[in-house]
């Protein structure tokens, strides 16, 4: 309609940068905390590896075996023990960071939309990965993995990363377990996998986590929640419409009903946390009204997701 053209919200008017440059510089001091058990690449990177390799930085010995580099033989030990030992030391490795961004329709709900917060989180984590020479993979998923970014290394890919993330639209149905399972099977090396989702899927999170076994995968679940999901400001006779499926439900909300709803949501959150804990997955709830730098980042540091 013509009046919508005049009075309607201009497209892109609310499109603001995911974060500014100063925030990125401050963010550079942080890094994702990767487990040493992950299989990484020792050629570069800043994550400690569980494996010890011959190194000038001494921490242990092992008997010399054929093919070891003479430079790492501990001649002093040989003088005392009359047996050749090779000096072993801790090495640092780069790991693969996989960020899975939920673009189901429910992610468009909320103020600000949950997708917007998820985009900021994905961009933040992606920037950390690029800045610390990790291999970054970003994938959008709905019913299946839709499009991917990466692998990419180095901050030179930052603009590509941001463009990819910003073009994400929450217009897909949800198939959480299927999408994550498919993605995990295709990534044989594993790595750090970050799921940014509202987890509103009928099959549940537990099924999705079955494909993410440790130590191949170090999984982080960032559960995006709008405050109004926890405490709805609704009352009276309503017709609730599912943002995901369009399904409608007539309901009369009174204090008892809202209390029952809150109990149900609380139980669901407990269920998600329990499922994650059982499978060694880090679970963190992120409310969409939290400021990213002042609240989300400190929260992730407190949860030892960032260091």
């Amino acid at each position: 309609m013509w009046f919508k053209t005049i009075f309607g919200r201009k497209a892109g008017a609310a499109e603001r940068p995911l974060f500014d440059e100063a925030f990125l510089r401050r963010l550079e001091r942080l890094s994702l905390q990767a487990q040493p058990a992950l299989r990484g690449r020792p050629a570069g990177g800043e994550h400690l590896s569980r494996n010890q390799l011959p190194s000038t930085i001494f921490s242990d010995h092992r008997p010399y075996s054929y093919g070891d580099d003479y430079r790492y033989v501990d001649w002093n030990a040989y003088a005392h023990q009359e047996e050749v030992f090779v000096k072993l030391g801790e090495i640092e490795q780069s790991v693969s960071i996989h960020v899975l961004l939920d673009v189901s329709r429910s992610m468009a709900w909320g103020a600000p939309p949950k997708l917007r917060v998820a985009q900021q989180l994905a961009a933040t984590l992606g920037y950390l990965a690029l800045a610390h020479h990790d291999r970054l993979h970003v994938a959008l998923f709905g019913t299946a993995a839709l499009s991917r970014f990466g692998p990419a290394q180095g901050k030179g890919r930052l603009l590509d990363l941001l463009r990819f993330i910003e073009q994400a639209r929450a217009d897909q149905p949800t198939a959480l377990a299927q999408s994550i399972g498919t993605y995990a099977r295709r990534q044989i090396n594993g790595g750090v996998l970050v799921i940014c989702s509202d987890l509103l899927a009928p099959e549940g999170l537990d099924q999705a986590l079955q494909a993410l076994v440790a130590p191949r995968w170090q999984t982080l679940v960032l559960h995006l929640l709008d405050p109004r999901e926890l405490k709805p400001d609704l009352s009276g006779a309503l017709e609730l419409e599912d943002a995901e499926t369009g399904q409608r439900l007539a309901l009369t909300l009174d204090p008892d009903t809202l209390a029952a709803y809150r109990n149900h949501v609380s139980a669901w959150q407990e269920q998600l946390a329990t499922a994650c804990a059982r499978r060694g997955v880090t679970y963190a709830q992120v409310l969409t009204d939290w400021p990213l730098e002042r609240q989300v980042v400190p929260y992730l540091r407190a949860r030892r997701i960032l260091q």
């Binding site: 309503l238 609730l240 943002a243 995901e244 439900l249 009369t252 009903t257 709803y261 149900h264």
Partner: protein, 606 residues
């Protein structure tokens, strides 16, 4: 409100249907949620509860209101609108003496004037007002609309209180009479007391606002002052009343011709009266009693009497043999008799002449200016048709006037009579055997009595009845003296001298009025207490001048305690049902319903 099509109200049965429909299917506000997975478990329980409760939503209220308006519109309602926004206002002002009571810095009447002025100022366009004064006689003072406000205000300013009693009943009747047309009618009565005189109507066809003016106050008054001759003395009687709960001790001073004759102490019991008497020598023409009242109504603290109200009587006897008649006429009190021979009689030209002219066996060419007694009128006069003498037949005397009450005329032989043809202006007072003996009548201002017999030819001069008959005849023909005093506001009927052409009346305040003299004159404007000067004049000369005391004290006006407002049923404030305009409401109701439906449409598609 009435309904032109009451069956249309059956449409209101849709109201419960709408409620049932809303109960069956409640319209809900649609709200998007990210997922229903947390709500689905709660839905069944709430659905069961929903059916039992009436959903008081805005839509339901809008539906019910729209259906109500449409149902009422189908009934074609009508209301009786005002026949016009204009109103007719009648303001009745009490003019009785008690309205002169002081109330602080003002008086009750001044307060009533202020209220009346305020009412007049409230007149709107198209309104009209009529001012009525309720004195001893109700009258319309002025009327007009908002444009005539200055004239109405001036009319109010000319009024002053005075007089015993207020003719409020007459004022209400006049007010109803001046109302005309289908406009609203309202009567405002500004009074300090209850109704006096005629009883008030039980119902009135206008909105009546009976406004009481003033506060209850004690009052003392001289309510009666009278005097009578007692030999060579005069006995004076006064009654003093106390209208109030507290007892009151005071003094009463009596003045004779403005000289203090004595002061008496009076002790007035609560709501009591006391009487005083004086015996005075008959030397005073004017008496005045003054009470030291110390109250808010000084007008009734004084009363006056005039003891010299006798009217001098000049009689001209025109007779060739005047001796007998002169003797009997001279016996009339205060009479001065002069005689003249018929041959020398000339009507007084430019002079008032005598108050009474007695023609004996003679008639002039025209009636004289004053009263006339024609005795034994001769034939051949242009004034009377007189035939030859006849002898009265035997028979009873026929008396048709109180003039002859107590007179012994039965043994009188009236001798030969003049056969007077009864003129149209006269009536027979005394007759014998059908022959008129005494005839009385009035021609213009001329009071005329005719004796058709010659007293000298009868045995009447030998009877005691003769001077009595003559005195009564003279008194009947000449004006009576003024009363010693009158009550303020009460009408006084005067019979001025027949010779008088005009009356000059000077009120105590100095205001003078002049009236044309008529045989009978009623003075109803003697409302102010004090001495009135009354002068009868003719041909530029004064015929008679006298003082008339007017007293304000009375049990009716001196009691300043409040009177309850009368109970008068008020007719509906509309003149007649047929004259009212019926306003159809259905278009407005239908428009209201349409507006509600548009509002609902906007609400749904918001």
């Amino acid at each position: 409100m009435s309904f032109l099509l009451p069956l249309g109200l059956l449409a209101l049965l849709t109201l419960p249907i709408i409620v049932v429909l809303h109960l069956l299917r409640e319209r809900r506000r649609r709200v998007a949620v990210p997922s229903l997975m947390h709500w689905q478990h709660l839905a069944r329980r709430q659905t069961a509860e929903r059916v039992r409760r009436l959903p008081l939503t805005l839509l339901l209220l809008l539906h019910l209101l729209a259906a109500t308006l449409l149902g009422l519109a189908l009934g074609r309602p009508q209301i009786a609108g005002r026949a016009g926004g204009a109103r007719q206002l009648a303001v009745v002002l009490d003019l009785s003496t008690s309205m002169a009571t002081r109330e602080g810095e003002s008086t009750r009447f001044a307060q009533a004037q202020q209220r009346a002025l305020a009412l007049l100022r409230s007149l709107g366009p198209g309104d009209s007002a009529t001012l009525l004064a309720a004195g001893t006689r109700a009258r319309v003072i002025a009327s007009g609309g908002p444009a005539d406000l200055a004239r109405l205000n001036a009319a109010i300013d000319t009024l002053e209180p005075g007089g015993t009693g207020a003719d409020l009943a007459g004022a209400l009747t006049l007010a109803e009479a001046v109302f005309a047309g289908p406009r609203r009618r309202a009567i405002v009565v500004l009074t300090d007391g209850g109704p006096t005189g005629a009883p008030l109507p039980s119902a009135i066809g206008a909105a009546l606002d009976w406004q009481q003016v003033g506060t209850p106050q004690p009052n003392r008054a001289i309510v009666a002052l009278a005097a009578r001759a007692w030999g060579a003395n005069v006995q004076v009687y006064a009654r003093i009343a106390n209208y109030g709960a507290p007892a009151f001790d005071s003094t009463v001073t009596l003045y004779g011709d403005d000289r203090a004759l004595g002061t008496r102490a009076v002790a007035l019991a609560p709501n009591g009266e006391t009487e005083l008497t004086w015996t005075l020598p008959a030397a005073y023409a004017h008496l005045r009693a003054a009470l030291n009242g110390h109250d808010s109504l000084p007008q009734d603290d004084e009363a006056q009497l005039s003891l010299a109200q006798a009217r001098p009587l000049t009689i001209l006897l025109v007779s060739a043999r005047p001796d007998g008649l002169r003797r009997v006429l001279a016996a009339v009190p205060d009479a001065q008799v002069t005689t003249r021979d018929p041959a020398g009689y000339q009507p007084a030209a430019g002079a008032p002449g005598a108050a009474l002219t007695v023609f004996d066996s003679f008639l002039p060419g025209e009636w004289p200016a004053g009263a006339t007694l024609a005795i034994n009128p001769p034939a051949g006069s242009p004034l009377l048709e007189v035939a030859a003498q006849l002898h009265p037949s035997a028979g009873e005397l026929s008396r048709r006037s109180p003039l002859f009450a107590g007179l012994g005329l039965d043994g009188v032989s009236f001798g030969p009579l003049r056969q007077v043809a009864l003129p149209g202006w006269a009536e027979t007072l005394l007759a014998k055997g059908g022959a008129p003996l005494i005839v009385r009548g009035r021609v213009g201002t001329h009071e005329i009595a005719i004796w058709s017999f010659d007293p000298a030819a009868t045995n009447l001069p030998n009877r005691l009845a003769y001077p009595l008959l003559m005195a009564r005849t003279v008194r009947d023909l000449t004006p009576p003296p003024l009363p010693q005093s009158v009550q303020a506001g009460l009408p006084l009927t005067l019979r001025p001298d027949a010779r008088a052409a005009e009356l000059r009346i000077a009120a105590p305040g100095g205001r003078q009025t002049t009236r044309d003299a008529r045989p009978q004159l009623t003075l109803d404007d003697l409302t102010q207490p004090g001495l009135y000067q009354i002068e009868e004049r003719a041909a530029g000369a004064s015929l008679f001048r006298s003082q008339l005391p007017v007293n304000a004290g009375s049990a009716l006006e001196s009691d300043l305690r409040p009177q309850p407002a009368p109970s008068i049923a008020q007719a509906p404030n509309q003149p007649a049902t047929a004259e009212r305009q019926l306003v159809a409401l259905w278009p407005w109701l239908a428009l209201g319903a349409l507006a509600l439906l548009l509002l609902e449409w906007g609400y749904i598609h918001r």
